[in-house]
């Protein structure tokens, strides 16, 4: 258990306790091939009504972070080795299984990537949603299904009375994810974790689902942790962003700063690999190389082998997360100083605007500002 010298993330430091505070979380998997340090010293904080984005490639540890919060890491082989995960100041790592079950689905909910796989194929939608009410609020089976129907209606799902009697395969992809959101929000949780909630969906319904999530979280002042690899989604949904690489947060800042002046070369790389409306296709850059094997991490900075700015020091000494500017922390010995535009050689648009318009397929920014009721029943 190593001490992490990094001070708590200095956001706008509101007086109230954060809904979620993670301190030096380490979740490792003990496999035949060695210890996989999937999450290795993560610090995060989310406040009431705030949206925190976690972005990174697959294998960067973002999903394992989410599962660690829920304490749903498959064990064996996985285990939370150290750290604290506080919900309103209560350290959940220390809780026993029964206490944790009272929190899951009630105070913290989670939405997963593939709504079809995440719903039980042989149980009716109404039953599956109703389970939350039965388990946490002690409702009868009948009442629970009625409540489920109410939740579906609140999620703008057409003819909810029929839908509760349907099986998951009878719903469209967008509808399934709405049902998942309904399930997650049934008990008005303080924290909602969404792990790639739109990746498995049609592009046409991605916007609607994101819009719905943003709207309902705003209504209940639910804190939202949004995990994605899509910088466009980050740009549209989040206030603060944590960029993860090889199990560590490499940049932790607000969304504007990230898109205007990213400090970590990896974050900058992610932004450069974004397609931009009006941008030159030839300038689309991908990050060279592969993410490192988590069983055999290099001694220095995990990103060094792929980093265009790597110096000898990067390969020897692992950098710590340090404050670059107020509200921006970067894990890099040689962080980028200037704005991203400079390095993009006079792009016609800044990357943020580009991301807003290019990567998210236009309808989203409009949808985000549209009245919430404007799209009822739009999910096919």
């Amino acid at each position: 258990m190593s001490e992490n010298p990094v001070p708590p993330a200095a956001a706008a430091a509101p007086a109230e306790l954060p809904v979620l505070r993670i301190r030096d979380l380490r979740t490792h998997f003990f496999t035949g091939q060695g210890v996989v340090k999937a999450v290795d010293g993560v610090d995060l904080e989310v406040h009431k009504g705030e949206v925190l984005g976690i972005v990174g490639e697959s294998g960067s540890g973002k999903s394992v972070t989410a599962l660690s919060i829920m304490q749903l890491v498959a064990s064996p082989p996985g285990r939370i080795v150290s750290g604290r995960i506080e919900l309103d100041g209560l350290d959940m790592v220390k809780l026993d299984a029964a206490a944790m079950r009272r929190i899951r689905g009630k105070r913290i909910s989670m939405i997963f990537q593939d709504p079809l796989a995440s719903l039980n194929p042989v149980l009716r939608i109404g039953f599956q949603l109703g389970e939350v009410f039965r388990h946490h609020l002690g409702l009868e089976k009948r009442q629970a299904v009625t409540e489920a129907e109410r939740m579906l209606r609140a999620m703008d799902i057409p003819s909810p009375a029929t839908r509760v009697r349907n099986y998951p395969h009878q719903l469209s992809g967008g509808m399934r994810q709405r049902a998942m959101i309904a399930m997650a929000l049934s008990c008005k949780p303080e924290l909602l974790i969404a792990d790639e909630p739109t990746t498995a969906l049609d592009v046409t319904v991605q916007a609607q689902v994101l819009n719905l999530m943003k709207q309902v979280c705003r209504e209940h002042r639910t804190a939202l942790v949004l995990i994605t690899h899509d910088m466009g989604v980050i740009a549209n949904m989040c206030e603060r962003v944590a960029v993860m690489y090889a199990g560590k947060v490499v940049e932790y800042t607000d969304v504007r700063t990230l898109f205007r002046r990213p400090g970590h070369p990896y974050a900058a790389g992610l932004l450069r690999s974004l397609p931009r409306l009006g941008g030159n296709a030839r300038r689309l850059q991908s990050i060279e190389g592969q993410p490192p094997r988590l069983t055999r991490l290099p001694p220095g900075c995990a990103y060094a082998p792929r980093c265009p700015r790597a110096q000898p020091r990067c390969r020897e000494e692992a950098p710590e997360l340090v404050r670059l500017r107020p509200g921006q922390e970067v894990r890099c010995h040689f962080p980028l100083e200037g704005s991203l535009e400079g390095s993009l050689q006079g792009s016609p648009q800044g990357p943020l605007e580009g991301a807003l318009e290019g990567s998210l397929h236009r309808p989203i920014p409009a949808a985000l500002h549209a009245a919430p009721n404007a799209a009822p029943g739009a999910a096919r």
Binding site: R102, R104, F112, A117, N120, P121, H135
Partner: protein, 315 residues
């Protein structure tokens, strides 16, 4: 649903046709002149008797006509008469069928009541000593030949419990309780191979299901492990188990022949064996056809059951 059942029934026609052709060809065509074979040792048989038998078996007709006559009679419930006793074959079958039905049902109860819980337990306790002992037991249960186990059971009872009546067959009509008691050990022996297979299958399907996203969702709802297991894992895991159980009925039916032989039970399997010894081809054909058709029908029932279990099946 009705449409689905009707479609499945329709699909039976070619299979049943094939089964009947196979039995017909195997028993009435391949061996050559049946009458010669049947009369075999009894050289003294008069030419007249042989002629009569030939006519009775329609051997003077062309082969396709013989098939049609045979199948036509079978469809009307006429499987011919035993060439030895002169008793109608169907009567013999119906007289013996209850024993087979009882044995298979008892075996099925063992398989379901022991196999599925053990497999689930092993999956739930994966990599613990509980899991390991169940797995080792299931491997041995699977490779132990049922006729050997049956023989050993008879041996043990006769050596150590010479006065026990656990292996005595009593007709159901005479004493139902003694009848079922007498069939418990044979039923278990019959079940063991399939039982072990089901343990392993259940274990692996439960393990597969436990890894699925919707089980994670169920846990994310805050449900307890028992609820997750019973409502979310078990039903899904049982779908493949049910399919395999249908196929395994074939193993059970095959096992009947051996089990009945060792335990001296008056079932159809033993009838078939006796008919082979006696070269009573009418009985052999009738018995094999009957068991084949039963197996096909069992699989139909399993298919329909499957559709009930899995709402994704479109009728």
């Amino acid at each position: 649903m009705l449409r689905y059942i009707l479609l499945r029934l329709l699909g039976l026609v070619p299979v049943l046709f094939g089964v009947s052709v196979l039995v017909f060809v195997a028993i009435w065509v391949i061996p050559g002149d049946i009458v010669d074979i049947m009369m075999g040792d009894e050289v003294a048989q008069s030419e007249k008797a042989m002629q009569r038998l030939r006519a009775q078996l329609n051997l003077d007709q062309p082969i396709w006509m013989r098939y049609l006559l045979w199948v036509g009679n079978a469809l009307r419930g006429d499987l011919g008469v035993s060439m030895i006793s002169g008793e109608p074959v169907l009567d013999q079958i119906l007289e013996r069928a209850p024993v087979n039905l009882q044995l298979v049902l008892i075996a099925m109860v063992f398989i379901i009541v022991i196999g599925i819980p053990l497999g689930t337990l092993a999956a739930y306790k994966q990599f613990t000593w509980v899991d390991n002992s169940i797995r080792v037991g299931a491997i041995f249960g699977y490779v132990i030949p049922n006729f050997w186990l049956a023989t050993i059971a008879v041996l043990i009872v006769s050596l150590y419990f010479p006065r026990a009546t656990v292996l005595d067959y009593v007709p159901f009509s005479k004493d139902p309780i003694a009848n079922i008691k007498g069939l418990l050990i044979p039923g278990f022996v019959l079940a063991l191979t399939t039982l072990s297979y089901i343990v392993r299958l259940t274990r692996s399907t439960v393990l597969d299901t436990l890894r699925l996203d919707y089980v994670r969702t169920a846990r994310a709802k805050g449900l307890g492990e028992r609820v997750v297991m019973s409502t979310h894992v078990l039903k899904n895991s049982l779908i493949p188990v049910v399919t395999v159980l249908g196929i395994q009925v074939g193993v059970l039916i095959g096992g009947l022949v051996l089990t009945e032989e060792v335990f001296m039970l008056p079932g159809i399997g033993r009838m078939i064996l006796l008919s082979i010894e006696a070269r009573d081809f009418m009985v052999l054909a009738g018995g094999v056809l009957f068991l084949g058709v039963v197996f096909v029908l069992v699989n139909l029932v399993i298919d329909i059951l499957y559709a009930f279990l899995d709402p994704r099946i479109t009728y």
